[in-house]
């Protein structure tokens, strides 16, 4: 019997031994090649240092031969994937951006955005192309493209692309505020609209230099240079207001923006856009006290209120202008903005304020309101001095609800003859 048990144990342990190794075995995978740039024997310089290599800024057209063993490390910020950029790559480090002029197509397959690269500078040229410093070669004595079937020995890949490597774009509100040191860098302009929104295309077929202007609330403009070969060329210019990211360039000392793809344009979703072209429907007016009332100003196309009763003896006023209900149920980051203008002083400490509620009773006096923080015109002279923007009022804590806002006007009741006069316009809520 002992022997039998020994044999049974022997067989079972053989079986277990046979199978025991299987847990740790790792399934094969083919080798994956992560590129590594070889910069041995060279000197690392920054993009700023590269641009400053020529003794003084080169007159255009001019070229400068780099004959030292310099390497420049940077991140690819733009390529030719959408076709809006042609035979160019843009790279950037913390000191600046530079355009690489290369005679090759479909470079995005090898140089995706976020790819770390090392420029192997020796033997190539720094040129000034229409006021923009570029890394390239020589063509008919002036700046030209690099022609090589071994681009990857000049623009060397290093590691895997990573979108987190891309420097945050310099962001300006509106379309102004750049300097020449921002050229060839990734930048972002906010709160801008296309001038030909909804009517023109990004580029018409065969159009030589398709340029489209965007404008901000203050009338500043920026020109987008597009290519009729871009994948989005036949798209209609989007309506609304939004942010645009792109590479800053220049032409005839005017800034130009090259977007990399249509995704670089982030239009906001409009939830409420009330410009008072007509008397607004669904808005309530509620006078708590006084004779004054909110009135639709059909001349200026605004909503106005004026507590002045003509002789300065009237009682004080307290008036609500309650907006129509709007739906924030799908909004992620709703932003309220409006414009105001004012004339005349009032002893009332808060002649105008904006409120919000999620629970409108139908009567402003019985509704529980929450005051929002906004900027109002402080002008107290007898004439208007211009519109003042409220600034961005974040309503994200009300996401998911139906809400109303209200403008509350007050004038003093001290009888000393003062009351301010207000116009409110451009009430908008967008989801950014």
């Amino acid at each position: 019997m002992k022997l039998q048990i020994i044999f049974l144990i022997f067989t079972i342990s053989l079986g277990i031994l046979t199978l025991s190794s299987c847990k740790e075995l790792e399934l094969d995978t083919p080798p994956y090649h992560i590129p590594e740039a070889d910069t041995s024997g060279g000197t690392m310089i920054t993009i700023e240092q590269l641009k400053n290599l020529p003794p003084s800024p080169l007159p255009s057209p001019g070229i400068y031969l780099i004959d030292s063993n310099y390497f420049v490390k940077g991140i690819i910020t733009a390529n030719d994937e959408s076709g809006n950029i042609y035979k160019k790559l843009y790279m950037q480090d913390s000191t600046g951006g530079i355009v690489l002029s290369i005679d090759a197509k479909d470079m995005y397959l090898k140089y995706p955005i976020g790819q770390t690269v090392y420029l192997n500078c020796k033997g190539f040229y720094l040129g000034n192309s229409y006021g923009i410093p570029q890394f390239g070669s020589v063509f008919e004595g002036g700046p030209g493209r690099i022609i090589s079937d071994k681009i990857d020995t000049i623009v060397m890949l290093d590691g895997l692309p990573d979108l987190s490597f891309i420097p945050d774009p310099k962001t300006v509100v509106g379309a102004s505020g750049f300097s020449t040191s921002d050229l060839s860098k990734l930048v972002k302009i906010t709160n801008v609209s296309f001038q030909e929104a909804g009517t023109n295309l990004f580029a018409n077929p065969g159009e030589s230099y398709p340029e489209r202007t965007v404008v901000d609330a203050n009338g500043n403009t920026m020109v987008l240079s597009n290519s009729s070969y871009a994948t989005f060329a036949n798209d209609t210019l989007p309506e609304g207001t939004g942010d645009i990211t792109g590479i800053l360039s220049t032409y005839n000392s005017e800034y130009r923006l090259y977007i990399r793809d249509i995704d670089d344009i982030q239009m906001y979703t409009s939830i409420l856009a009330e410009y008072f072209g007509t008397e607004p429907s669904g808005w309530d007016k509620k006078s708590i006290s006084g004779d004054a009332a909110w009135i639709f100003n059909s001349t200026d196309l605004t909503m106005k209120i004026n507590g002045w009763d003509g002789d300065g003896t009237g009682a004080g006023n307290d008036d609500y202008l309650v907006s129509a209900s709007f739906d924030l149920s799908t909004a992620v980051n709703p932003i309220l903005s409006f414009s105001s203008r004012r004339r005349f002083a009032d002893t009332e400490t808060e002649p105008m304020a904006v409120y919000i509620t999620t629970d409108y009773t139908g009567d402003a006096s019985t509704t529980s309101w929450t005051k929002l923080s906004a900027t109002f015109d402080l002008n107290t002279t007898s004439s208007f001095t211009g519109w003042v923007s409220s600034g961005e009022i974040n309503l994200s804590e009300y996401s998911g609800s139906d809400v109303r806002i209200a403008f509350r006007y007050k004038s003093s009741s001290d009888g000393n003859g003062s009351a301010s006069f207000w116009d409110i316009d451009n009430v908008s809520i967008v989801d950014k």
Partner: protein
């Protein structure tokens, strides 16, 4: 060397000087004590049948220890060791128990053949039904219960088992596997088998690691009978009729046997799959005297069937059934299947059984087989792919238009016409092409049915000897010579002409795919430069036409030593194989190496095996077996692109196999169990797949060399008799079958648009496809000739067949993956897909009647997959295409095969 092969390794013993004995006895039913007529009684090479009163007599039984074996239909066979020490012995009554395992007669192997996109798909995969009767609980369960789910014991495919018919190997020498359909339907006339599973010793050949079987159709070994069987089912076929007559050995020494069967279905379980199979067998035996018997047997099974094709899950879901079959379509209101198979491979065997002494038996066989293996399928010329589930026709192909996508999904699920072959359209397109024949670009039919045929003939001569050397030693050995030739070619079967256009359409024998890739090159596009631009009509050969010749010579020898507590055997074989190709066409893509006879390739292989059994007591056995062998690559896997040229695969080499197993066996009256541990290495394997690549618009041959595999695991089977009537069975196995190398893949494109190229495939430690862990729990109840079986079965650790391309360097490099996603992407491309676990419950019930001991009626009814689980994937494959540009695996999703849902089988037999 060839000559040496013919020299037998054994010389015959002149016999020992001890006297021989006459042994007699009576065989009775252990329960009823009634005599059993026509039972077969064997001692070594001696054999006789019991008479009406169960009495038997065997003369010339050698002195010493002998093993007596008694077999009778419906009765558990009986084996006992007796001591022969007198010249006349009556061993008295041998009481046999009734067999509760009446054979179910279900043709496991025939079921559920599903085709992929591959060429050269034969039968195979499933294990043969003959193993149903195995005494090994695990082997029986694996064959009967898991066989239909494409489970392979130990992960071995059918080419690792040896099958002999009357002593002659029936393995296809080109493919290296056996086609069971050769004798499909002849269950009753092929019932006498000598077989073992796994490593063991045999009397009829060296065998292989999966086991060996010798089927005997010698009429005198079959009980005298007239038997009619009728079966009704809903699997591949719906009805079966079988008739078998066996005469038994008459006074003049003649014995006859005849069997005929038909199995058919207008439509099987799967839509569009018809089945029409006839089978016949005739055998005649003349026993000249005690020393010489002659047997002549001939059989065949002409079978035609409509095939099912695997499809993607998207197509199954849209069609609302996992048995959606894209192969068929309506033509004039009738279902026509575009993919049909016809097989008829008859075989004639002449045997000479020579028993020069009671210690020696020499069986010699001369065999001839011939026949056709034909696969018909659609072909098309400069026309769109007519397969309804072609990937561009499915909603998933539309990625940028949701509206269109859902429209296509709607019509796909809503309209049967959309998801089946549109025969009317194909006829119409052909007709329009015919009308425009005078215009240059429309010279011929656009669609047709082609018939890919493999016509073979084979001569074999084999001789085996078994000789009892001493009381303890038996020697066996043999030799076989085989001459095989197969002609591969294509015929134009049907040019899809309207009735009144018969004979008007034609087909120009050029490679349309080469035509596209080499415009203006008039010679490269030719399939036969000897007959350029040949215009073909129905019945003409076209495309390719070549012969493969395989000559082989095989010798084997084995000694077996049997002692009271110890058994030992050792065996060896040597096989010489020579093969070559003869091209009957001069192909324009390979003008120098396609026409005429190629160089001959030959291999000399050998095998060694040995095993021992230690009987610790009558109840405990310890068994160990080992084998080392080399195996020539099959000619089918050796030519890189055989339809085009005679190039051999680079570094073609023999496969090396070594394996060992250890078993512990417990045998008690009410309890028996066996546990086995095994470990097998298969090294330097070569594989070749041919498939249609619709991007390259060409057939592509995909060869892999240096494929190493390690298959290891534990098997367990036990049976506990709780009462005399009720038994509990438990069987299962757990394996770890993996690739253990990085093979080299070579791709050869038939239209020549790309040069042959090689690459490394990274599949080290990858799992082999198929289920690797199975378990079954069964109950058997048997009383008063009623039996009842129930089984609960479980399959797990199952993997899909993978596309090697996705495991190459090119598949994962040269892209723009980001640092935070590349590991996920690599994993997505290279990960191996696990098939969901599956559970089934099977039931069967049966009853047999005996009337006056003259008439036997047997009725059984079985239900498979009683829970009607239609979600069981039995296998499948990743498509052999890969989107190297975008590297998305979803573009060419895998195709799956599903196990049938609930099926039933009713079997009624009547025997006189």
């Amino acid at each position: 060397m060839k000559n040496a092969i013919f020299i037998f390794l054994f010389f015959l013993s002149a016999g020992l000087f001890a006297q021989n004995a006459k042994l007699s006895g009576t065989v009775v039913n252990g329960e009823t004590k009634k005599p059993i007529q026509n039972a077969v009684v064997k001692i070594g090479v001696l054999q006789t049948n019991t008479n009406e009163v169960g009495y038997f007599e065997l003369n010339e039984v050698p002195q010493g220890k002998a093993t007596i074996i008694v077999e009778a239909e419906g009765i558990a066979s009986f084996k006992q060791i007796i001591k022969v020490n007198k010249t006349e012995i009556n061993i008295g009554e041998l009481a046999l128990g009734e067999n509760s395992e009446e054979e179910m007669d279900i043709d496991v192997v025939e079921d559920n053949i599903v085709t992929g996109d591959f060429l050269d798909e034969g039968d195979g995969g499933a294990m043969p039904s003959l193993l149903n009767s195995s005494k090994d609980v695990y082997a029986r369960t694996a064959a009967f219960t898991f066989g239909p789910m494409f489970f392979k014991m130990r992960g071995y495919d059918n080419s690792y088992s040896s099958i002999y018919m009357n002593g002659v190997s029936v393995e296809n020498p080109e493919m290296g596997r056996t086609s069971w359909s050769m004798w499909g339907g002849l269950n009753d006339a092929t019932r006498n088998k000598d077989s073992y599973v796994g490593l063991s010793s045999g009397l009829f050949g060296f065998g292989d690691i999966g086991g060996a079987t010798n089927i005997s159709t010698q009429p005198s070994t079959y009980r005298k009978q007239n038997k009619v069987t009728y079966s009704l089912g809903n699997r591949s076929y719906r009805q079966r009729v079988m008739y078998t007559y066996a005469s038994g050995l008459n006074k003049n020494g003649w014995a006859f046997m005849f069997s005929g069967a038909r199995r058919w279905a207008n439509e099987g379980y799967v839509d569009g799959t018809f089945y029409d199979s006839w089978s016949y067998l005739g055998a005649i035996e003349k026993k000249l005297n005690d020393k010489h018997s002659f047997v002549l047997s001939g059989f065949g099974a002409p079978t035609e069937r409509g095939l099912q094709a695997g499809s993607t899950q998207e197509a199954y879901d849209l069609a609302g059934s996992n048995y959606y079959n894209p192969n068929w379509g309506y033509q004039n209101g009738e279902k026509r299947n575009a993919k049909t198979r016809y097989v008829h491979q008859p075989m004639i065997v002449a045997n000479h059984v020579f028993t020069p002494s009671t210690k020696t038996k020499i069986t010699t066989a001369l065999a001839y087989s011939f026949g056709t293996f034909s696969n018909k399928a659609l072909n098309w010329y400069n026309a769109y792919d007519p397969r309804p589930d072609y990937y561009r026709l499915l909603p998933s192909y539309i990625t940028d238009d949701d509206e269109l996508q859902s429209y296509i999904a709607d019509i796909w699920s809503g309209s049967e016409a959309i998801r089946q072959v549109d025969w009317d359209e194909l006829y119409y397109v052909n007709y329009v092409a015919y009308l425009n024949q005078n215009q240059e670009e429309n010279g011929q039919a656009k669609y047709m049915i082609e018939d890919r045929r493999d016509d073979h003939n084979r001569y074999s001569l084999s001789s085996n000897i078994n000789h009892i050397l001493t009381e303890n030693i038996t020697l066996s050995g043999g030799a076989e010579v085989s001459r095989y030739k197969v002609n591969h070619y294509k015929l134009i079967d049907d040019l899809l002409e309207y009735d009144d256009q018969e004979g008007n359409y034609f087909w120009v024998d050029v490679d349309q795919f080469a035509e596209r890739d080499f415009p203006g090159n008039d010679s490269i596009i030719q399939n036969d430069l000897n007959n350029p631009n040949r215009v073909c009509y129905e019945g003409d050969r076209f495309g390719y036409d070549y012969d493969i010749h395989v000559n082989s010579e095989d010798v084997w020898a084995q000694s077996k030593f049997i002692y009271d507590n110890f058994e030992f055997y050792a065996g060896a074989n040597v096989v010489h194989t020579e093969f070559w190709r003869v091209g009957n066409m001069k192909n324009g893509r390979a003008p120098e190496n396609s026409f005429g006879e190629s160089a001959h390739t030959s291999f000399l292989n050998y095998g060694l095996k040995a095993g021992a059994t230690i009987k610790l007591s009558g109840h405990h056995y310890f068994i160990a077996n080992g084998l080392y062998e080399t195996k020539a690559p099959s000619p089918k896997n050796s030519y890189l692109s055989p339809r085009i040229k005679d190039d051999l695969i680079d570094s073609l080499s023999s496969e090396i196999i070594y394996t060992a197993d250890f078993s512990y066996v417990i045998k008690y009256k009410r309890f028996n169990a066996k546990i086995t541990a095994y470990n097998t290495f298969m090294l330097d394997k070569t594989t070749l797949n041919s498939f249609y690549h619709d991007e390259l618009k060409s057939y592509v041959n995909y060869s892999m060399t240096n494929v190493d595999q390690n298959l290891k695991g534990i098997e367990f089977g036990s049976e506990v008799k709780i009462t005399n009537q009720l038994s509990v069975l438990l069987a299962g196995s757990y394996a770890d079958n993996r690739y253990i190398s990085r093979p080299t893949a070579t791709v050869s494109v038939e239209n020549g648009s790309q040069a042959d190229s090689s690459k490394t495939i990274y599949i080290n430690n990858y799992y082999l496809p198929g289920a690797q862990a199975v378990g079954s729990f069964g109950l058997k109840y048997y009383v008063n000739y009623w039996f009842f079986n129930a089984n609960v079965n479980y399959l797990t650790k199952s993997y899909l067949s993978f596309n090697p391309e996705r495991r190459s360097e090119a598949a994962i490099n040269g892209n723009t993956w980001y640092a935070d996603e590349y590991e996920m992407k690599i994993d997505e491309i290279t990960a191996i897909e696990k098939i969901p676990n599956a559970m089934t419950i099977d039931l069967s019930i049966g009853k047999s009647w005996r009337i006056d001991y003259k008439y036997y009626i047997n009725l059984n009814f079985s239900i498979g997959n009683i829970l009607d689980n239609t979600e069981i994937i039995t296998g499948g494959y990743e498509q052999m295409r890969f989107d190297f540009v975008n590297k998305t695996v979803t573009k060419f999703p895998p195709k799956y095969f599903y196990s049938f849902g609930r099926t039933f089988y009713l079997n009624l037999s009547f025997r006189i």
